[in-house]
Symmetry: C2
Subunit: 383 residues, 2 copies
């Protein structure tokens, strides 16, 4: 075991950030825990620098942070400080971005260019402009910094690493298809269930009512329109598509997720409603539209699922509502807010490789982040 440690810098101490700290401080087996030292912790208001590395629990760490003076700095100033901190010790610092800030994402090229390794569950940097994406990986190549992002799609599920392995070993991706939004998974798993055709006339709970329940349980964004517009799925598709050589080299995703044809489930008439509660209040007016689609699908022996589909051969990428036969895994084996993704490849066909499970939540998201951190330590620290 090496006595060297990876110096960890954590930005963002919300639900996921706290779990990341908890796993690093308390959950890892000893031989792995000894590879990390959390030396810096911050949110937009405060920061804590502990050169010797944090000890104790995540709660202790957050309590210490809360007692510091407000830094009063812009995020770019904070990042500037980190770059200074890491200077001269290239390759030994790991930045963990637990924010979902586009401003922080925009600074990744600076961070990575300084030789700081990066792990994040944030989709922002990898699903916005092609320029930012290229800048990050160009900087990484030059500085030999490692950038990993398992938790950006399906949280802790091994989706990014599996796609990486398929591509790296020379398989050809024929189709990727998945229920990638936990919220939309939950809504349609509740709303559209496989049923014998004889019962298709049975009334189901109206869509708006299921959404209301989900919002009250905290399963949706504060404004549920931010789930229903499909942008989360479009962002995840962008991240996956950019890993596939034939798509990453095209102009197809120049504007990132904005370039993905995305079906919004927000009724046109409700598009300008700013308040989430107002939105939920008015959604029942559109229940008949949802019911019609659901009934038509059921009559065809199908359920509705909001999916992302990616076909590298034709270059088609899209996010939207699709029908799946009752015995399709997306229809039959999905429950709760689970994600499911299927990879049909030259090697995995006709039957695809399927991965399913919780694709959101603090503990599993942090797992994706921490598993990536462990991989970086394995590569960077001497054997």
């Amino acid at each position: 075991m090496s006595s060297q440690k990876l110096q960890v810098l954590v930005l963002g101490v919300g639900l996921v950030g706290k779990q990341v700290i908890h796993q690093l401080l308390s959950d890892l087996p000893t031989h792995l825990a000894s590879q990390f030292s959390i030396v810096w912790l911050a949110n937009s208001k405060q920061r804590l620098h502990v050169a010797a590395g944090l000890t104790g629990t995540a709660e202790d760490a957050l309590s210490q942070l809360s007692k510091t003076e407000p830094h009063g700095l812009s995020l770019s100033k904070v990042i500037e400080e980190i770059v200074e901190l890491a200077e001269g010790s290239r390759g030994k610092y790991l930045f963990v971005d637990n924010t979902s800030s586009q401003d922080v994402a925009n600074l990744y090229p600076t961070l990575v260019g300084a030789g700081i390794h990066l792990v994040t569950p944030s989709k922002k940097a990898f699903s916005s402009s092609a320029t930012l994406y290229a800048d990050i990986f160009r900087a990484a190549t030059q500085s030999k910094a490692i950038v990993l992002r398992e938790a950006t799609v399906g949280a802790g599920l091994p989706i990014i690493s599996t796609l990486d392995d398929l591509i790296n070993t020379g398989d050809t991706i024929l189709k990727i298809e998945g229920v990638l939004s936990g919220t939309l998974s939950f809504l349609f798993n509740e709303y559209s269930q496989p049923k014998p055709t004889t019962t298709t006339t049975t009334t189901t709970t109206p869509f708006s009512q299921i959404l209301r329940g989900a919002k009250e349980a905290g399963y949706t964004e504060p404004h549920p329109g931010d789930d229903l517009n499909g942008s989360d799925v479009a962002r995840k598709l962008t991240i996956l598509a950019r890993m596939i050589p034939s798509l990453s080299n095209s102009d197809l995703l120049k504007e990132g997720f904005l370039s993905v044809p995305t079906q919004s489930l927000v009724p046109a008439a409700l598009q300008d409603i700013q308040d989430g509660s107002d939105f939920v209040q008015k959604l029942p007016d559109f229940d008949a539209d949802f019911a019609k689609q659901n009934k038509e699908a059921a009559q065809a022996g199908c359920v509705l699922r909001y999916v992302g589909v990616l076909d590298p051969q034709s270059g088609h990428i899209k996010a939207g509502l699709e029908r799946y036969p009752f015995d399709h895994p997306f229809a039959s084996s999905l429950s709760g807010s689970d994600n499911i993704i299927s990879f049909t490849t030259k090697r995995y066909s006709p039957n695809p490789l399927i991965i399913q499970g919780a694709g959101a939540g603090a503990a599993v998201t942090a797992m994706g982040v921490v598993a990536n951190a462990i991989k970086i330590a394995q590569i960077v620290l001497p054997l």
Copy 2:
């Protein structure tokens, strides 16, 4: 990109071995292909040493090998030669064992002890005695050699790496359950299908007939009893169980797969039949027994699946025939010879993390091997 390469030594050039060579020589993207140099190739009869590294196709390589003089050496002598070859250049050699030879597996401690990294799809070393297992990893720790074995369970499916990530990030494994034998998956997917209870009286194809078809299609071992006895599943369970700290430290798996309670589907009266065709000939006598079990399961709304189950909390490990309700993923979403595995953990519960797909076949098995080789190159070669 580093100019250093991992020197690859390949033993075994059957279906999987040839695919491994093919992927390394022809399938990898350029930046990864440049990290490997296949310098040695052998089977039990011949060997080829190309210090400059093989070029051309896998066919070229095998043709070159076929033209060499028979080495006339025992396997331990061959391994001795490799150890000499690798001497003085520790950490730059990777041995790929594509045989399923217990003799070769027994020599892993010697190989790994010489600082030679090891990747293999062979279950032998990791599912036999606890002594051999401990010797391999003790040798690896001392010499800093890396031993990876993704393809030993579920071929290229990310099963070992996922279990590794779960454990490494501090999750608690509550249950692992899986259809882990492609052959047994195929047999029971054909024989025992989810059906509305009204049709449970419909006659299904007799078990022996499905087995006969599978044997003729080359899906079974030459003697199908070697599939039906469950030892393949018991071996895979052993490999998984040994990764779980609470089980690996116990005496539970002292004799490896022989220590796993395993239900054999070979009728007692047929246990001594040495010839595969004789066996298939006599199996129809026992169709009524299989049919009875299948009917009883169907009447309870269930199908039969041959699974491996592992419960670290109670220490229970077993391989055998189990019933699953029609809407369970093992019943509803499985087809062909697919493997499926579900991990129920502290973080992934009540809904488990599920991985499904082809768990056998040369191309996907080689993918697991080559993905492991890429990981080792990433760790070992300078950034």
